[in-house]
Subunit: 699 residues, 2 copies
C-alpha cells in the first residue's frame, strides 16, 4: 500500500516517491547492497562533478523514500551478483561489454539505457548514458520504473529525447512580479535582488531535471531596466542560479534587451553592424563566459510590442540575431530569437492588415540567413496562445533555420490556474499537425525535433507556470501541465492519456479510482474550457490587459489586431486568399486548400479563417448561433460534472490537494457561468435568434 | 493696451492683472495715495490677522501689477479727499456713516459692499464687509472692477455669496497620485509626506480665495492607510496646509476613514454606538482642534465602493454621521457625509436593481435624523458625473437635512483635460433645474443655497482639477472650469456667458476677438463632447477603469450597475414606474410625469429613462439610430471647427497658451474620431441600419 504524506506533499509534485510495498520490493532488495556510481573525477569539469553529486544524492533519496533503506553507493566494481550500476558508457568494461555495438551507438547525447545485466555469475541492473546528464535522467527514470513496479529483470530500455533543447522560459521580473504568473510571486527575485531561497531553487531544478528539461531562461522576455543589468552588474545573480540549476543538467539563459548598448554613453546606438556595438557585446559575453563557462546563451524579443530591435537601424532580424550569435558561438552559446513580431498599433478599421500573417511575413524571407547557433522561437499559433488557433504556418516553412516551438504552460488565456485546463491534449494536436512541408509526414513534432529539415539545433520551449505558491502552480492540477510539457519535449510521440496516467500515479498515488477520475477531468478540461469561451477558433473575447473573464468586444476596437468582426449577420475573420487577408496562402498547398474553403475547414477553426452568417451550418448540422448557445450551456454543465467527480474523491485524496482543487473548481464554475451568460446574451442581443432548446438566455 | 507677460503666465490663471491703460487710470490715480487698511488687531485671532495681511498684500500686488505703482497702505483715517478704504463694517465711523441701515444689514457673512463715498469735502471708495474674509473677497472684486474699467464713482455694489459653503475636494493621495487627476501629480504630497512646495500652495490658496472658495478637503475620499494618519501622526501636515489656506479664508477639512478605530487594538471596532469608539474619536478631534482651532471638519465616504461604514455594525448612516458630528459640533466643526452609496456588486443579469435609485433609497428615509452640523454631499446626478444625467432626485427631496451639491470639476468622464469640455453650461442646467420640491420655483440653486427648505448650512462642492502641471489644470482652458465652479458657488444666477466672458478677459487679456472666439469654443464644447460620446443620456460607454475613450460594452456586463441594454431592436434603461425600475417615482410629480412618458421625456435624457427601438422618432423627427449617426459625425466636425477657430488666434495669444490648447485639440480630434467610428460601427453592426446620408461607417 502507498503511504500518504503530510498536507504539504503537493510541494513535491511528481517526485512524491510513495513507499513501495514489500512484496514487489523483495525481488530486488539484494541489489540495494551494491549501488555503484561514477568515480570521483577529480574536479576537472565542475559542471559534470555537480551532476554526479546529484546522481548519488538521488539514488540515496529515491531508495530511502521508496523503500525506507539507507543505501551507501560506492564507485568500485560490482564484487558479487546483485547490483545497480549507474555510470557513463565509457567508464567501465562491464558496461561496454554488457551492451551491443548498436545499443552503444543508439544512445544520444541526453539519452540513456537501462539494461538488465546477467553474465551468469553476476547479475544486476545497468543504467548508463554517454553524458552525466543522460545518466541523471536514467536514474530518475529508473525510480519511475520502480514506482510503476516494472519487472527489472529482462529490462532493456533505451530512452532518447527527440528534442535537443527542452527549455522553460520564466517571465519573472526582477521586482518579484511574474508577467502572466498565477501562482504567487517569483521564486527567484524580490526588489531587484535574488531572494534567500536556494533550497527552493534546488527543489525546482530537481523537478525540472527529473523530467528532462535541460534549459531555463531566468528572466522575462520583456526586459526591464533592472533585468538588463543581469549582463554585468547583476551577473552574480545569474552565476548563483547557474550553480543550482546545473546540478540537474539545466543550462541557464538570460533574456537580454537588444538596445542595451544605447545606454552606454560612449556607444549610444544598438546598430548591430556598428563595430562599437559588436565590441560592447563581445565584452559582455566574454565576461559572462569567464564567470559561467557553461552559460547557455541569450533569448531576445526584438521589434515586438514596443521592444527595441534592429528595425530601429534599418537592419533585418537576421543581422540583429547573427551579430549576437557570432559572439556567443565561440563560447558554445546559442542565440534564441523570438518570432512574435507584429504591428501592435493596428487600426481596427483596417481589414487588410492581419496579425496572423506577421510572423511568416517577417521571417520567411530570411530563411537561410541565420547563423547555425541561432534558433527562431515560434509560438504554436499565429496569434498568441489562444485556447484554439491553427498551427503557425512558419513551423516547417523555414527549411534552413533552426526552430524552437514555443508553448505556454502558464494559463494566460486558458483560465489562469483558477480553471482546470490541461493543455497536453492541445499540445498533442499541435505536435501531430501535419504541416506537409515535405510530403505527407511532416508533422510539427518532426519539424521541431529537427528531422524534417535536418536542423542542427531545435526543440521545444514552454513559458513556465510556477511561482512561490507552496504547490508551485497555484492550482495543483496545473502541475500536470508542467510535467506534460516536459514529457512531450522529451518524447512528443507519447499519448496524452499515457502522460496523464503517469502524472496521476506519481503525484496522487496508486489508487486507481482516484487516478482514473482525475485523468477524466484533466483530459476533458481543455475541451470544456473551449466550450464556454470564444467559439469556433475566433478567440480574443477576453478582458483586455489581464485577460481573465469574458469581454466579447474587449479587443474588438483595439490596436492589437485581434478582432471577431461580429455584426448583425455574421462573425469571423476572412483570412482566405479569395476574399480575405490571404493568410491561408502561408500554408503548404494541402492545408491551404483545407482552410480556404469553409466547407472543408475544420469547424473548430471556422471563424478563425472565415466570416460567416450565424445561420451557416456546421458539420454537426447545427447553425453557428445554435452551436454557440449549445457549447456554452454544455461547458458549464461539464464544470459541474468536474465538481461532482472531484467531490467523490474527498476521502481518497490528501486534504490539501482535495481542497485546493475543490476551491478552484467552484471559482471556475462561477467564471464559466459568467462566460456562458455573457457570450450567449451578447449574441442573442446581436442576432435576435432564440435558443432552439429554450434555455435561459438573459436579455 | 494690455501688456503681455512671459510664457509661463498661464500659471497665474485669472489673476494675471494685465497692466491698465493710463487713460482710464488717470481718473482714480489720486486715490492711490491714500490706501487705508485695517488696524493691526494685536494678534487676538491669528486667522483673522493672517487674512488682513493678505488684504494688504493683495492691495499692494494689485496696484503694482495693474498700474505699476507701489502703494503704501496705512491704517489711519483718510486725511483728505481721494482714498480707497478697505476695512470691516464696525471698524470706522466713516464706513458706518457712509452706509444706510439697510445696506449694513444686507451684507452677509462672506459678502461685501463696494461703495463710492462722497461727503462733499472727502471722496473715495469704501470696500467693506462684516468679516475679514468678506473684506478680502471685496478687495479681489475691486481689482476685477478695475480690470473691467468700471466707473468707480457712483458705485454701490453689494455682493453676497448665495452659498454658505463653497468647497473644493481634493482626491489627492498621500503617495502623490491623484485619483482622477489629469494635470500631473499632487501639489501637496509625495511619498506620504508634504512636498517642499509652500509657494505653490500659497498661490493656489490665493487663486481659490480670489473667487470666493472658502473650504478645501485636502485628501482623497478613498482614504488610504497613510492618509488615515492625517488624524494624528501626520496631523502636522494638516496644520501646515492650514496655515497657508487660512490666509485666503479657506477652512481645511480632511477625509477620514470611518473604520479607523478598528486599527486601534484596544478598540477593535468602529461601531458608532460604542462608547469606546466615540471616545476614540473625541480624543482625535480634541487633539486636532487644540492644534488647529479653525479646522473645518471631516468628509466621509462610508459604505460605498468597498469603503467601510456603519452598515458593518447594522447602524444607519445617520447614526454613523451623527456620532462624528456631535463630537465636531462643540468645536464648531462640520461633518460632511457623501451620498454616493450603491450596490457595486450588482449582477448585469438583474434588471430590477437600479443604481440610479440608490442614493434616494438609502438616504430619503433618514430625513430629519441628522444633526444640524451634518451636511449630505449629493452628486449632481444619480449615477456618477456622466456627460449627461438627470438631476439627482435627492436634491430638494430631503427637507430637513443640510445638503451640499457635489460637482466634478476634474474631467473624469468628460475628456480628462485632453478634450476641451467646459462644464459651466452643464452646471447651469443642473442649478436651474426646477425640482418642484415646493411649488414652481424650487430650482436646485435655491435648494442648495438653503432657501427652499431653510437649511442651516449648505452649499456647493467641486472635485478639483489641479495638479503639479505648470498651468495647474493640464489643459489651459480647463482653468475656466475651476473659475466657473467658484463663481457659480458664489452666485448661481450668473449666466454661463457672463462667467465665460470674465474668465477670458482676466486670463487672456482684452482682445475682443480672442475672447469672443475662445468663448465660442468654451460654450459649445460640452455639447460637442456629448455629441460624439454616449448618446441621449445613456452614458457609460467608456473604457473601464481609466474611463478614457469609447468602449460601448465596457461596463455592459460588469458589476457596477451601469448598463445600456442595447440589443438588435433597441437601447436604453427602462426606469419608469409602469414597466421599469421605478426610478422616476423618486421625482416630484411634475418631473416624474415628464420623465415617465417617452413622448414628454426630454430627448437628451431619453435613453436614461426608457428602452426604445432604434426607429423611435425623437422630437427632432429623427430616429434614434439616425440621431446617433448624425451627432457623432457632427461632433467630430465641431472639433475640427474648434481647431480652425483656435488656429486663427496664433498671433494673438501667448505662445504657451496657444500651443497648450492647440496640442490638446489635436489629441481631442483623434479621440473624437475614435469615438465616432466605434460608436457608429457598434450600432451599425448591431442594427444593420445604414446612415441615411451615406457617410463612412466602418464595417
Amino acid at each position: 500500500m502507498f503511504k500518504k504524506e503530510g498536507i504539504n506533499s503537493d510541494y513535491k509534485c511528481w517526485l512524491k516517491y510513495y513507499e513501495i510495498e514489500d512484496e514487489y520490493l523483495g525481488r530486488y532488495k539484494k541489489w540495494l547492497e551494491n549501488i555503484i556510481v561514477p568515480k570521483n573525477k577529480g574536479g576537472t569539469d565542475s559542471a559534470e562533478e555537480e551532476i554526479v553529486k546529484s546522481i548519488i544524492a538521488e539514488l540515496k533519496t529515491g531508495f530511502y523514500k521508496l523503500i525506507g533503506e539507507k543505501v551507501v553507493p560506492h564507485s568500485g566494481d560490482p564484487a558479487c551478483s546483485g547490483f545497480i550500476l549507474a555510470d557513463i558508457l565509457d567508464s567501465r568494461d562491464l558496461i561496454r561489454e554488457g551492451l551491443t555495438v548498436q545499443e552503444r551507438e543508439e544512445i544520444n547525447r541526453d539519452g540513456f539505457l537501462i539494461k538488465h545485466y546477467d553474465s551468469g555469475p553476476k547479475e544486476g541492473l545497468v543504467i548508463t548514458a554517454k553524458t552525466y546528464r543522460g545518466l541523471l535522467y536514467g536514474v530518475f527514470h529508473f525510480f519511475r520504473l520502480l514506482q510503476e513496479k516494472r519487472e527489472l529483470r529482462k529490462l532493456n530500455l533505451l530512452e532518447n529525447p527527440d528534442n535537443k533543447l527542452r527549455i522553460i522560459n520564466h517571465w519573472d521580473n526582477l521586482d518579484g512580479s511574474i508577467e502572466r504568473g498565477y501562482a504567487g510571486k517569483s521564486i527567484f527575485y524580490e526588489n531587484n535582488e535574488l531572494k534567500e531561497n536556494e533550497d527552493r531553487w534546488h527543489d525546482y531544478a530537481r523537478l525540472l531535471g527529473s523530467v528532462g528539461i535541460n534549459g531555463i531562461v531566468i528572466n522575462n522576455v520583456n526586459v526591464s531596466r533592472a533585468a538588463s543589468d543581469l549582463l554585468d552588474d547583476k551577473l552574480n545573480m545569474v552565476e548563483k542560479l547557474n550553480t543550482v540549476f546545473r546540478k540537474y543538467g539545466l543550462k541557464v539563459y538570460i533574456s537580454i534587451n537588444f538596445a542595451s548598448p544605447c545606454e552606454d554613453d560612449e556607444i549610444g546606438t544598438a546598430d548591430p553592424l556598428k563595430e562599437s556595438v559588436q565590441n560592447w557585446w563581445k565584452k559582455k559575453v566574454n565576461n559572462i563566459y569567464n564567470r559561467i563557462p557553461d552559460f547557455g546563451g541569450f533569448l531576445v524579443k526584438a521589434d515586438s510590442e514596443g521592444r527595441p530591435g534592429p528595425f530601429t537601424y534599418d537592419r533585418s532580424h537576421a543581422e540583429g540575431a547573427n551579430m549576437l550569435a557570432r559572439i556567443l558561438k565561440s563560447h558554445g552559446g546559442v542565440l534564441i530569437w523570438r518570432c512574435f513580431v507584429y504591428d501592435c498599433q493596428q487600426d481596427w478599421r483596417d481589414y487588410s492588415t492581419d496579425r496572423a500573417r506577421a510572423a511568416y511575413d517577417n521571417f520567411m524571407p530570411l530563411d537561410g540567413e541565420f547563423e547555425d547557433n541561432v534558433l527562431l522561437q515560434i509560438k504554436n499559433g499565429p496569434m498568441d496562445f489562444q485556447v484554439r488557433e491553427p498551427v503557425s504556418p512558419l513551423l516547417g516553412a523555414m527549411k534552413q533555420t533552426n526552430q524552437l516551438l514555443e508553448l505556454q504552460i502558464t494559463q494566460e488565456y486558458t483560465g489562469q490556474q483558477i480553471h482546470v485546463c490541461y493543455l497536453v491534449p492541445q499540445w498533442k494536436e499541435i505536435l501531430e499537425f501535419d504541416t506537409r512541408a515535405r510530403g505527407e509526414t511532416s508533422r510539427v513534432k518532426r519539424v521541431v525535433d529537427g528531422s524534417v529539415h535536418d536542423f542542427s539545433l531545435s526543440g521545444m520551449v514552454g513559458v513556465g507556470n510556477v511561482g512561490s505558491d507552496m504547490n508551485w502552480t497555484g492550482h495543483t492540477l496545473a502541475q500536470a501541465n508542467l510535467f506534460g510539457f516536459a514529457r512531450l519535449a522529451w518524447d512528443p510521440d507519447l499519448s496524452a492519456e499515457k502522460i496523464t496516467r503517469r502524472w496521476c500515479r506519481y503525484t496522487l498515488g496508486e489508487d486507481r479510482e482516484v487516478n482514473a477520475k482525475t485523468a477524466q477531468i484533466l483530459l476533458k478540461s481543455w475541451e470544456t474550457y473551449e466550450k464556454y469561451t470564444a467559439p469556433l477558433g475566433v478567440g480574443w473575447m477576453v478582458n483586455p490587459g489581464h485577460h481573465y473573464g469574458p469581454n466579447v468586444d474587449g479587443y474588438e476596437y483595439s490596436r492589437w489586431g485581434t478582432y471577431h468582426r461580429a455584426d448583425i449577420h455574421g462573425i469571423g475573420v476572412d483570412r482566405t486568399v479569395k476574399t480575405g487577408t490571404g493568410f491561408t496562402e502561408q500554408y503548404f498547398a494541402a492545408k491551404k486548400e483545407l482552410y480556404e474553403d469553409p466547407e472543408t475547414c475544420p469547424d473548430e477553426l471556422l471563424l478563425f479563417f472565415h466570416h460567416l452568417p450565424y445561420i451557416y451550418k456546421l458539420d454537426s448540422g447545427k447553425t453557428i448561433i445554435q452551436h454557440i448557445y449549445d457549447t456554452h450551456f454544455e461547458g458549464v454543465e461539464q464544470v459541474k460534472e468536474f465538481i461532482d467527480i472531484w467531490s467523490q474523491l474527498s476521502d481518497e485524496l490528501e486534504p490539501a490537494i482535495f481542497k485546493n482543487v475543490q476551491k478552484r473548481l467552484k471559482q471556475q464554475l462561477e467564471s464559466a457561468r459568467e462566460w456562458r451568460d455573457v457570450i450567449n446574451t451578447y449574441f442573442y442581443r446581436k442576432t435576435g435568434f432564440p435558443d432552439e432548446k429554450h434555455r435561459k438566455i438573459y436579455k
